[in-house]
Symmetry: D2
Subunit: 323 residues, 4 copies
């Protein structure tokens, strides 16, 4: 962890240093997802060798992480509320028969960032700007007129690389406040015998979620302290030209943050609006970790389509690692 706290001037310099605005033209709305080419997708498909599909999603239900205790202010997110519009008990009771069909239907109410999710490019602003220099006023109560998650609808396919940092560092899980460095990421890739390449979807395991699941309580998880990316990893993100990055924590970056008071989630300030990087959070990585440890293969085809909710700044997802 840096001895000096990140301040506004550091933020400004990082914004200048890592700015990708205009890189894919003035009208681009998907940022680093552009790094993945058709050839990358073809190559990713060739990684399917066992025919095994591993879901990286937590189930969406009332046992999810929202509402657990945190020492930081709550964000107003709730766990999904799933309600039925028609049921099998209605069927059994005979009350559906006038319809000529016994069928159940259902509904959900959910914050789009309540569980396993993509943070879209409309999610975070840098000053008055969003990705590619769009005005932050493009995200109104009517949704995101620019960079809505629906713009990614044909995009979340490519090579997945799994970096099990906790395992590479010889731990069950990284401690809260542990800041993952560039060196940690490189060391993990080396230990696994994989290379991160342009256009990859990189998935990083801290083990924190599994620790919470094992403890039987999400307290401290939503918005609380966590292991995660150090601010310095912006350099690594830029260098690798990855398409998207995901982790098993609530917010990817280390908490407490490395920044001065008043700067919350400094890494987000840069990754999303400045670099244009879509970010995956609350990924469930236990099964993938076990499978990769068993077969020694840390690359796979990755498919994680967002629900194209028009104007959304994020999306719940069921990301799949296909090996």
């Amino acid at each position: 962890m840096p001895t000096k706290k990140i301040n506004r001037q550091d933020m400004k310099e990082a914004a200048e240093r890592y700015k990708n605005w205009g890189k894919w033209g003035p009208h681009d709305e998907i940022g680093t997802l552009n790094y993945t080419t058709p050839d990358d997708i073809i190559a990713a498909a060739r990684l399917v060798r066992k025919g095994k599909v591993i879901s990286l999603a937590l189930n969406f239900d009332k046992t999810g992480p929202q509402g657990a205790k945190s020492k930081y202010p709550a964000m107003g997110r709730i766990n999904p509320v799933h309600t039925m519009l028609r049921t099998g008990t209605d069927a059994y009771s005979g009350v559906l028969d006038h319809r000529g069909i016994r069928a159940a239907d259902d509904m959900v109410v959910m914050p789009l960032q309540c569980g396993t999710q993509w943070d879209g490019l409309g999610h975070v602003f840098y000053e008055n700007y969003m990705w590619n220099g769009y005005d932050c006023r493009e995200v109104t109560s009517a949704g995101a007129q620019k960079c809505g998650i629906e713009k990614t609808k044909s995009r979340m396919v490519g090579r997945g690389v799994f970096l099990d940092v906790a395992r590479a560092l010889g731990r069950d899980f990284l401690e809260d406040g542990y800041a993952i460095t560039c060196a940690d990421l490189d060391r993990t890739a080396d230990a696994e015998g994989v290379q991160v390449r342009r256009g990859d979807f990189v998935i990083v395991r801290t083990g924190q979620m599994e620790a919470k699941l094992a403890a039987g309580s999400w307290d401290g998880y939503p918005g609380g302290d966590a292991p995660g990316f150090s601010f310095e990893t912006l350099e690594w993100v830029q260098k690798t030209q990855l398409a998207a990055l995901a982790s098993d924590t609530w917010g990817c970056e280390v908490r407490p943050n490395e920044s001065e008071p008043g700067i919350n989630q400094p890494w987000h300030w840069i990754t999303i609006p400045i670099m244009g990087m879509t970010m995956g959070e609350i990924f469930y990585l236990k099964e993938l970790a076990e499978d990769c440890a068993a077969d020694g293969v840390y690359e796979f085809m990755f498919v994680a389509p967002a629900l194209p909710i028009t104007g959304a700044v994020g999306s719940p997802i069921n990301p799949l690692a296909i090996k």
Copy 2:
């Protein structure tokens, strides 16, 4: 269309004839998705030759089909309601700065069957039974204790086969009430030079959705008359051993139904609870149709993960054809 209407005795006979209960053991909850093997997934991945990803989803928003006029009773489904929890206009106004981060968040309220979707195996009952003989009372107001959509979370990957029936029959779209026959399906496959095989995800185009989109009105679409599968195609479904079947209409099967009054959606009565077949509806097929017509390739890798909402009887999805 049959001259004789399908009656209760016909339903009973079809239920006996096509019943797959127990085929994958007494505890199975995913039915015909079992047909897809790891080898099928490996082979499906080999179909990725262009590196092109085509989304088969309509965007989820208030312009969706729900609420349009229909001559049948409404089902109580609404279009998705997307609301913001924090916005870029909040950011611009300075009211988020006390948080130390300028970020937007959002929420959705949506029936799970309101747009492009999977019908899960808890969606339709045959008398008091659901798939595999489970009691329909397993689907209560608390959701589906059996056959919830979350049981499919690692399953919606395989070979996709696109049967453009409208095109094969030389039409822009099939007329409402047109009952697609087994012969139509075979003729389409022949014309396209594809074979439907065990474990495939078969996607059938009627063109109806595109006709509605071109007309600028969904009137008649949700629950209205439509082209779709004839009751006789149950035989074709059984014979092909497909994993799942999808179409571009509201309810896959032909409407008006071929059945006597009091039997609504007879094909559903059999496909879901008796055969255990997951069904895709409201698929957007225009882009896929154009691509397949252009390259003459009607098979591809298909990935369409359900959102694992615990106990859900369906799921909104963003199905991907990867060619």
Copy 3:
């Protein structure tokens, strides 16, 4: 209808003329509701002579006015969605018995302005200001920090005066576009033998809702053309010192508006943020109209408590006329 359209300068002059800011101190958040005194409430209670309670609410359900056609852009409001969390069919099916109680529960999703409602003082802004000069940025995605509807929780009680303008003008209902004048209001009061006094809750009937109900279609109602208050009635509102004003239309004021393009709902611009007047809309007045016509008594005790949803800018209500 005025020959000259209301323009920005007219708005500015009206804002200066009718501004009540500061009238009840710099911290006031309820505006003209302050006009009603304890003595007024005591006197209002004395108007209860028959012991008859008349609800002025439409039921809240999917048959409500939202979603009907309008020639103006939609506002994104839907009818209430009422879903069950537990049911009598669950009870019948025996699936609740493990709880030791057979009970139903339910939930609602509803825009607060979707049916019979109060428009709170956070609902409309004049330039960058809300009632009493508060900054409009007090109403963020987190709700109204000033003038939330919960501030009225002990306030919606007083003398109700019913002005049946349609009846006084000898019509079943006023035509769309009919602008109710100060003279119309005075003439109606005279015809009814009532006087409007400081602190009253004044309810004005146009008959439009009943015409829609009789026609069996809400088309044209939500946001469409309507009879309603002329801009000149601001003078009448100011003079009478009424506590709140309500009507049976979607938006109280006449539509098409009397203003130039670009000024939508000019009367609202003044009544809510400038005068601090709470406004009732979509009131169901048929039964009240019949009762008042029958007994000739147009004053009563009026009780219409808002649901104190913290930070809300409106509230669905069940207003009661108690005679």
Copy 4:
């Protein structure tokens, strides 16, 4: 507390003893609300002597009691989720100006029993029956076809009587598990110098809510142990012929219940479906308690209109005591 636990046979006997089915005809759907007559309403209005309105509602927001810890299984209720559809920050940002009006709108998602509320007569069943002998299958996923809360829309007006049992027993609040007896109620009325009469709305204070509010935590409140009505008070309810009964706890009756395992909320089994008594819960009584203690007047006009949500089994309310 009885030494003997209430068993099924006791329930059966109570059901026979207190059954009001048919008392107001075979088609009645509002039960004991029928006890209040027009004359009672006139008399109630005469109780308005100070012109003071006291709200008995908690504000509806995320600080409400739902989600707090309880040793009993959760009911699936959440606190209200209030979201904005348009905001003052949108206005400030200029993004609403194309509409010609700067206005905010909002929405709520809420279980109808999440805060201050009426339990309607569709809320609890006795075996397969609801109030007046209606089949419990009248309450389906489509709502309550019988006894929906909308049937009470012109009914919740009458004489309110406040029984401050905690105060009468000399305590700040009654302890969890304290079973209020008929004698306690009579003693309280005597101490206050009021008489409970046919058609009254009786509001009973335990002080539990205030204790929770003072402690700054709702833990133990929703569904947890509580002071409340003893099973024997069914006799008192029957004898007094009250219209409705309300309290400041989550569920009115004493918890732990006085019944054998498997019988949860035995008093509810009788009051709602057998007696037809509407019940108020989670009433905020601090201000009323202070006012009544100060002026010694424990009777008032009570007005607490339900939101007429069609088919609802309960309703959030803002009950008013008007003194």
